[in-house]
Symmetry: D2
């Protein structure tokens, strides 16, 4: 999880917002909303998920590669883990 409390708060807020968006899709299904409108809601959630992913990735880069004192070797080992994440991130 993010090392900075501030980062964690921001990310949790985004996650809560996405929860609200997903609940709205369920309501829309019950309210007989048009499929076109529901697809737009789903697109919006996907956009929010991508935004969340970017933010968590950025915080992770900050925590592992940027902040504090570190040697080239330490950062190099962190990058191996980050590469694995990137591979499943975009495929």
């Amino acid at each position: 999880m993010p090392k900075q409390i501030e980062d964690k708060k921001k990310i949790t807020l985004r996650v809560k917002k996405i929860q609200g968006q997903v609940q709205a899709i369920e309501r829309a299904l019950n309210d007989d909303t048009s499929c076109a409108a529901i697809l737009q809601q789903i697109c919006a959630v996907r956009g929010a998920i991508n935004g969340l992913m970017n933010q968590v990735l950025e915080v992770h880069l900050k925590d592992t590669l940027v902040d504090g004192d570190s040697t080239e070797l330490q950062r190099s080992e962190e990058l191996i883990e980050i590469s694995k994440i990137l591979k499943s991130y975009l495929k």
Copy 2:
């Protein structure tokens, strides 16, 4: 919304599952799970959202272009709406 009750049930089930996955991300944040693990959870939600989108789109194609009697003109008008959806769907 989907015309067939069966389709609606399946889609609602997927939405509920995604709700559970998003709640699990919130719990993971509180449990100090590693960023790498949280990113994998977010990737999984994105996959589930894409799956939901495909299913709603497929049902929409069935309801508007396939099922029942329709003229070429009617289907042609439906396709204009579907094209708009596809454009925001993949960009």
Copy 3:
């Protein structure tokens, strides 16, 4: 391939444009362009590929589900094939 010559021309034009964009990435690599600028070029190609995909999919829906006289059963069989495409389309 698209049934209408007009559709085929439009799609071929898009493909040629993408070829130009990919060649530009190769030149940028040779010209020592910054990684940030190259990543933006790659993003642009991805956007163009998504646009191409949407257009081919739309033409395919027109050719198989909209144009001409067809029975519900014929369209229903076409949808099975389209569903397979959609699944590999977004995953």
Copy 4:
């Protein structure tokens, strides 16, 4: 562009491979290949573009955040640029 010649070679090879894949789509259009098969080829190009993007991003992280001696402040400034790239990367 990548600082290591080895990285540049690998990336150039990927770009050349994508060029071949895009040319194959043009040939498929001329050969009256089915739309379904063409859509699969387009999906494959998109996958290759995403793979290229990941590799360039990884090399960029290595060049800016990992390799050599750097201060926290320097890496922090690099991260601002990387964040901008990530935002246009996934949206």
